[in-house]
């Protein structure tokens, strides 16, 4: 009898599972979401019904989904990983042909009550399949070139599909998220070094090609890079957003201007203020204190995930928990870097705070998986 089978016998069953949920994590999530509701009220000029109310309804729906997912044993989800991955690939292919293209070329399927973005779903199913793969793979084969190629293919297929939409931001997140799971699973450092070197080479090649006849990317894409490096060069276009966002953030000061007192967001200087740029409103109205508090809450969510994973003897559960935490980290890190002018503007929402149905629902289901891994973790003697 294996260690795992022996030890899962102590796993709680039935309603008792509720007691063994990672409650601090749930409270942290609720706290972050509440900050989101507050900000959505503020950017709507004090109106609750515009963005905050639909967001709350989705949060409650998401929480229900999270509890359901958490109650189902983690080995069921492991067995479902392959199917889930294939399903998300099918959705990506489906939107390629039948999806609706909205502003900024993100594609979604209209389900009536919400718009489902398959690329959001893929962020989680990719982590699932990779965790399941490394759970199945004997440890000594992890760094074998052949067994490295398989997960690379698993990552590249959805990345290519998303890139074709085109949605560069999500494609980078998928690539980074998948890479992190491979790293956690113990793939040799050498591979990551080689990829990093190739990446640096590619970027220099792109820049070296500018103006020559073998130019690798289009002129307007170069202009976007220029705008990121020097926002003042395009004060009415994309550079305007970065400049305004930085002004809003900086003018918040220590304590901010007070709830609903931010002039930047109120005067419509800010674009997408209820979605991608919502952090600037928080930083403007609640200042450094407000911004750092949200960052700490995010940090704590990661920390609780990491602690849960370290105490988990089930390889799938541990990899899944760390992978989801890493994906979550990527979301807020990229979004915050973007609004602080540290990264180019790519459409990545602030997790649990930005207005948006798909992202919220998918994240809560993902935390449901983390909970399931936590509840059903093998308990040693």
């Amino acid at each position: 009898m294996s260690y795992l089978e022996h030890s899962v016998k102590r796993v709680p069953t039935g309603a008792r599972k509720i007691l063994y949920l990672n409650w601090p994590l749930i409270l942290l999530i609720a706290a972050v979401a509440s900050i989101g509701f507050l900000m959505l009220v503020s950017v709507a000029g004090g109106r609750v019904d515009r963005w905050a109310e639909p967001q709350m309804i989705r949060f409650v729906m998401g929480m229900v989904a999270m509890f359901i997912v958490a109650m189902v044993p983690i080995w069921f989800w492991r067995n479902m990983a392959g199917l889930a991955y294939l399903f998300s690939l099918a959705l990506l292919v489906f939107v390629e042909f039948f999806g609706v293209t909205g502003m900024g070329a993100q594609r979604w399927i209209d389900l009536g009550f919400m718009r489902l973005q398959p690329s959001e779903v893929t962020k989680i199913t990719l982590v699932m399949i990779l965790a399941a793969y490394y759970d199945w793979l004997p440890l000594n084969k992890v760094s074998h070139p052949l067994w490295v190629l398989i997960p690379v293919a698993i990552i590249l297929i959805p990345t290519a599909l998303v890139l074709k939409q085109p949605d560069l931001g999500t494609a980078i997140l998928l690539l980074a998220g998948g890479g992190i799971v491979m790293f956690l699973a113990g793939v040799s450092w050498w591979y990551f070094g080689a990829v990093a070197a190739a990446g640096v080479g590619l970027v220099s090649a792109v820049f070296a090609s500018r103006g020559t006849d073998w130019q690798l990317i289009k002129d307007y894409q170069f202009r976007r890079i220029d705008t990121f490096l020097d926002p003042a060069s395009d004060p009415l276009g994309a550079g305007y957003h970065i400049t305004q966002s930085k002004i809003a953030l900086g003018s918040g000061g220590w304590t901010g201007r007070g709830f609903m007192q931010g002039t930047q967001s109120r005067l419509n200087f800010l674009p997408e203020k209820h979605t991608d740029f919502i952090f600037t409103t928080l930083a403007e109205e609640f200042g450094f204190i407000g911004g750092i508090s949200l960052l700490i809450l995010y940090g704590l969510i990661i920390l609780f995930c990491v602690v849960s994973a370290f105490g988990n003897r089930d390889r799938f559960g541990a990899l899944l928990t760390l992978g989801i935490a890493a994906a979550f980290f990527l979301f807020f890190a990229v979004n915050m870097s973007m609004v602080m002018g540290l990264a180019p503007v790519v459409g990545v929402p602030l997790p649990l705070v930005s207005f948006g149905g798909s992202a919220m629902l998918v994240l809560l289901v993902a935390f449901g998986l983390v909970q399931s891994a936590h509840v059903h973790r093998p308990r040693g003697s």
Binding site: D135, L184, Q244, K246, A248, G250, W254, R266, L267, A309
Partner: protein
């Protein structure tokens, strides 16, 4: 996967180690974010706070004035008119309903527009200005302005909107502008920020869309100061941007208006071309529509009426309508036969009223036959049999070659929508496109401009101009852009011996000036303006044997859409050609009765530069022409005052 406890521990240790590394990196990154936040919000807070104060100075885009389109005499065809609007700001209005109620007592408000505006007001932030009413009269506008104290939150505002002073006359050439649609945006990579302005007007059809890039101009910017509530306090400065470039067309507004009015009750097209320069002086397509309706956003009822009309007012028949040219095509067949030498210049063909090809019989329009027919007589009396025989000897391909010389089957590069190529068939074309072999009967049909042959009125006008001058004149629609004259390409002679061209011209002269000519009734008697021409009647149906037996031959007995098209091409003066004209009257019956009279009137109007004196007409027609001209309603000359505002 079943693992031994040792493996489980190894795995856990590895994951923990890597997880710790990753966690460390994440912690570092978050530290970086926190430091950046501290730097911006604590150390540089004062600077940003200052910038935020300055940010009360907001940049707004100003749409540039669109380029004006003039006719060849400098009379505006498309200009920009002041658009008086009323704008409301919810926050300042307080009780919106009460303000709107008071406003309604002052000016008439469209219920639909109002409802749309109120919904937008509800959706937008309270300080965003929303347009409540558009296109007010100056009286209504000033009444609102003088009552401003009683109307909190209401601002009278002036913008620019496209206006077509010639209404219907240039609808097909110039086209119209309309608000940018999502569809328009989706087709443009990296669109101009201007296009994001709500209701910004861009060209949708015709010259307006084909020369959009020149007409649009570059956006200006307005620096305005807003107060804490977002209200505009004052303007601090503006960069007016670059207005769009002005265009001058080759068309003459009076001739265009006359042609349009002359064709008014028909479904017809007329093209007037300068035979030397190729300038298109008029391109009339009747019936027309008012482009100003499209600028405002046409109501679905009006649009439905336009699309349901069997006369197709939305189509530009001069370039987009392609018709079998009928007998106007005979010059091509004749010239091809003479040039190839299969038919001698004086050689005659016997016309018994029909032509036998194997077991098939092709009829001449004159059932009794024309007797002995030479080339000249064949053109003058439009004998079909002569051309049947000529084409039998020739085959289709030399005819096709001749057509290319004269511009038939060529898509001319004009900045108008839907310029058609027409169709000049050949053996190769039938094999490639239809996958069938060319039959001798196809050549016979094509020889009199029936069968597969399709030409547009524009192509017929080009053909006529080239017949008149013997040079390959190219049509030109844009006279100058931004004051710079567009080049007239040097022309080369058509590849036909001069004496054959001369013969053809003389035959065309006799079409309208000899006793037996098919267009004799439409001759011009003024000696200095004598006209040469050719009639054409093209069938849109096959006459069945049953119909022939029953004697249903008369056009008037058929439903409109099955009647023949009437065509006429002409130029004048005969001895030193100036203008070429082509007219097609859809389902109008015979070319001599339906198309030749308006073609002559339009040609005379062009030659005289106004309503021609009745003395130019044969004496028995003068009384009728006088009445017709008295009844014709023409547009008054536009007010030369400062109405073409470019503010």
């Amino acid at each position: 996967m079943k693992r031994t406890p040792k493996e489980v521990e190894d795995s856990a240790r590895l994951v923990t180690r890597r997880g710790a590394v990753l966690g460390g990196v994440q912690l570092l990154f978050m530290g970086g974010l926190a430091l950046r936040m501290r730097q911006m919000q604590v150390e540089e807070a004062d600077e940003y706070r200052l910038l935020a104060e300055e940010n009360r100075i907001n940049m707004r885009l100003i749409p540039p004035a669109r380029g004006v389109i003039y006719d060849r005499n400098g009379v505006p065809i498309a200009d920009n008119s002041q658009n008086y609007r009323i704008i409301i700001v919810r926050e300042d209005a307080g009780d919106v309903e009460e303000v709107v109620r008071r406003l309604k007592r002052l000016v008439p408000l469209d219920e639909n527009d109002l409802e749309r505006a109120l919904r937008e007001l509800e959706r937008r932030s309270p300080f965003v200005p929303v347009t409540l009413a558009d296109r007010l009269s100056w009286e209504d506008f000033s009444r609102v302005a003088s009552n401003a104290p009683a109307l909190p939150g209401i601002t009278p505002d002036v913008g620019l909107s496209r206006h077509y002073p010639m209404a219907e006359d240039f609808a097909h050439i110039v086209g119209y502008v309309g608000p940018v649609s999502d569809y328009d945006l989706s087709r443009i990579e990296d669109p101009d920020p201007l296009l994001q302005i709500p209701k910004f007007q861009i060209g949708k059809v015709g010259v307006e869309t084909k020369l959009e890039d020149r007409l649009r101009g570059k956006a200006g910017t307005r620096r305005i100061e807003v107060n804490a509530a977002g209200r505009v306090m004052r303007e601090l400065g503006r960069d007016p941007g670059i207005p769009g470039v002005d265009l001058q067309l080759t068309t003459d507004w009076r001739l265009q208006n006359f042609a349009q009015a002359r064709l008014a009750n028909e479904s017809a097209a007329a093209v007037v071309m300068d035979v030397e320069t190729g300038d298109l002086l008029a391109m009339a397509s009747a019936p027309a529509f008012d482009p100003n309706k499209f600028v405002r956003g046409i109501s679905s009822r009006d649009y439905g009426e336009l699309t349901a009309n069997t006369y197709r007012p939305l189509a530009n028949k001069t370039v987009q309508g392609t018709y079998p040219p009928g007998s106007t095509f005979k010059m091509m067949t004749g010239l091809a036969a003479l040039k190839a030498g299969v038919m001698g210049p004086e050689e005659t063909v016997w016309c018994p009223g029909h032509f036998q090809l194997g077991r098939r019989r092709f009829h001449c329009w004159k059932r009794g036959g024309h007797g002995h027919v030479s080339f000249d007589k064949a053109i003058v009396q439009s004998c079909d049999t002569y051309f049947y025989e000529a084409s039998r000897r020739l085959g289709i391909d030399p005819i096709e070659e001749m057509c290319r010389e004269f511009g038939l089957g060529e898509r001319f590069d004009l900045p108008i929508s839907a310029v058609a190529e027409g169709l000049i068939p050949s053996v190769k074309w039938k094999a490639q496109v239809r996958g069938e072999t060319w039959r001798p009967g196809d050549t016979i049909n094509a020889s009199i401009g029936q069968g597969y042959v399709l030409t547009s009125p524009l192509q017929l006008a080009v053909m006529t101009a080239r017949l008149a001058t013997g040079r390959k004149v190219m049509p030109r629609l844009v006279k100058s852009i931004d004051g710079l004259e567009t080049e007239i390409a040097p022309t080369e002679p058509v590849n036909v011996p001069a004496h054959l061209m001369e013969m053809t011209r003389r035959a065309m002269y006799r079409v309208s000036n000899s006793d037996r000519g098919t267009a004799r009734r439409s001759r011009i008697v003024e000696a200095s303006m004598e006209m040469a021409g050719k009639t054409g009647t093209s069938q849109v149906r096959n006459i069945t044997a049953a119909e022939r037996a029953a004697g249903v031959f008369k056009n008037e007995d058929l439903p409109w859409e099955r009647r023949d098209h009437g065509l006429f091409v002409c130029y004048a003066p005969f001895d030193r050609p100036k203008y070429a004209v082509s007219v097609v009257v859809e389902h109008g019956g015979g070319g001599s009765s339906a198309a030749a009279p308006p073609a002559r009137d339009i040609l005379l109007f062009a030659l005289y530069g106004g309503i021609p004196p009745v003395e130019a007409y044969p004496s028995d027609q003068r009384e009728r022409m006088r009445t017709m001209y008295e009844e014709l309603v023409l547009r008054d000359p536009p007010d030369p005052g400062p109405s073409r505002s470019r503010a």
